[in-house]
Symmetry: C2
Subunit: 315 residues, 2 copies
């Protein structure tokens, strides 16, 4: 296992021929943007390359795969993109965990096991690394690649709103727009469209909001029963995590989502430098300073109690 | 009245000595960003300059005026910024309407009367024009100026999300971040903070949502009674206009807000190229293709009826 530079990573991506690109479970715009951008770039170079998903491509992101079909080949090089820890590979972990040749990531908390690690935690999105890599691979950025990279940069920065946004994020966006990136479609899909079911889910979630620690901690939750009552799928659940942190005075915003396996998927968003990554590490999770996640086993009340207890200790 | 270039406008802004800078009523981030950026730039050149408001500076924007005090002087040059039509000057119209020496704006529908017009409708924000102007005036962009310009560009593009966002918008943002612009504070204030009263207002507004034209038109409203019940001020009312357009399938999203003078302030947001500016022109208003406004006299039901009728004709 060795840390490598971007240009060493670019070399690895031109020296081999048959690539599998692994994404993280519950795939988001950044891991998918990385995977499709890199896949299109490798194919431009005449390589075989497939994007490997833990589960179905979320319907909102089908635009990334408009010009994509799985290829038939024997893999000789495995790359993971935007995957911070082995368990985040989900169902891919069992087969791939000890076969990763190159890990490309932007999480400071990265704990992946791979032959080569290319991690830059100064990047707001892993797609910012992919952007530099593709240029270093001497591949022209096509419209498909531009759309994929923009998807990662824009979704991981909350459309250039979160504190992780840098001048580099904006420079890349400007370049991609000049290259024909379809920001109108992408922004509309990712930031400006709510199904009626999602609207109803938001209303229902507002009703669950509780405040602790003198208003500095806000918690919301969703249950399987709520999802069923509204016919809400995974798409309807996205973005809920940003709601509790937005309330004036809140430093830790917690969103709990009941899963079928008896756990709660917990998303933590913080303000004022409170470390969400450290908070989630208490429960075996991780992520970024202002946005992290973890899983907690148990019923709603006991899981909530543990989270409130942890918030009280942190604040 | 003559159309002038940016460099001619820059000359006018260096040739005179005592400037009043007029903003539009219900001042938003763009008109205020323009005014404070230009004011700080003029003062750097040793000029006298004041920002003139129709009403009190909205509390969320006080950060723009942290290093601002009104000066005492006799004005000899009047500039309007981001004001598309004389009536949008509000209470300033009576005194200033026939005294405007330079109008700087980015609305294609601009109908101002002024000695000199500098209008560039390709700019997402009037602050993008101000950015070029200040450079042409050879003034260094200080942190205060950067914060003001960023405020205009980010608020008028919905934090780089709306369809009006261009590569230029991103280039300017990148430059301002490099110049020390405080995007963390500004984005948090403008995009990431909701008072509890605002949260309650959103919930109440969701309950008023009605769909027409087979789901292509969505309408929400607020009344003075609703505002009073929640103790919601002007700050709580901001951003509501983006709610109805976000619903899947909606092409015209209409937000009606009852005002004390017996009118409804109407905000129209559109998708798929439906012209919001033309829609609002039917009621004496105007704005941009995807975001416009107008005022309608009458009670809730009759005003709503007129708007639905117009939507049916347009769709």
């Amino acid at each position: 296992m060795r840390m490598i530079t971007l240009s060493e990573a670019a070399t690895l991506l031109t020296e081999n021929d048959n690539y599998h690109i692994l994404t993280h479970r519950y795939p988001d715009g950044d891991t998918l943007g990385c995977a499709f951008a890199l896949c299109y770039a490798l194919r431009t170079l005449g390589k075989n390359a497939n994007v490997i998903l833990d589960s179905k491509l979320p319907s909102k992101f089908t635009y990334l795969a408009e010009n994509y079909c799985d290829q038939d080949f024997v893999c000789d090089f495995v790359v993971s993109v935007d995957v911070a820890a082995p368990q985040l590979l989900g169902s891919l972990q069992e087969y791939y965990a000890d076969k990763i040749n190159l890990c490309i990531d932007h999480h400071a908390s990265n704990s992946m096991v791979a032959d080569n690690l290319c991690v830059d935690a100064t990047c707001a999105a892993a797609c910012e690394i992919i952007h530099v890599l593709i240029k270093a691979m001497d591949v022209e950025i096509t419209k498909d690649i531009a759309n994929a990279i923009y998807t990662g940069v824009s979704t991981d920065t909350g459309c250039f709103c979160y504190t992780n946004t840098t001048a580099q994020s904006h420079h890349i966006a400007a370049e991609l727009i000049d290259l024909g990136c379809d920001i109108e479609k992408i922004n509309r899909i990712n930031f400006e469209t709510k199904t009626r079911a999602k609207l109803k889910m938001e209303r229902m979630v507002y009703d669950t909001m509780e405040f602790y620690c003198g208003g500095k901690c806000a918690i919301i939750y969703t249950t399987i029963a709520m999802q069923k009552a509204l016919g809400a799928g995974d798409d309807e659940m996205e973005g809920l995590a940003s709601i509790p942190r937005q309330v004036e005075g809140v430093k830790i915003g917690i969103t709990m989502r009941e899963k079928e396996d008896g756990t709660f998927k917990v998303s933590v968003r913080t303000n004022d430098g409170v470390d969400a990554s450290k908070f989630c590490a208490r429960f075996g999770g991780g992520g970024h300073v202002a946005a992290s996640g973890c899983s907690i086993k148990g019923d709603l009340q006991s899981a909530k109690y543990m989270l409130i207890k942890a918030a009280e200790e942190v604040l």
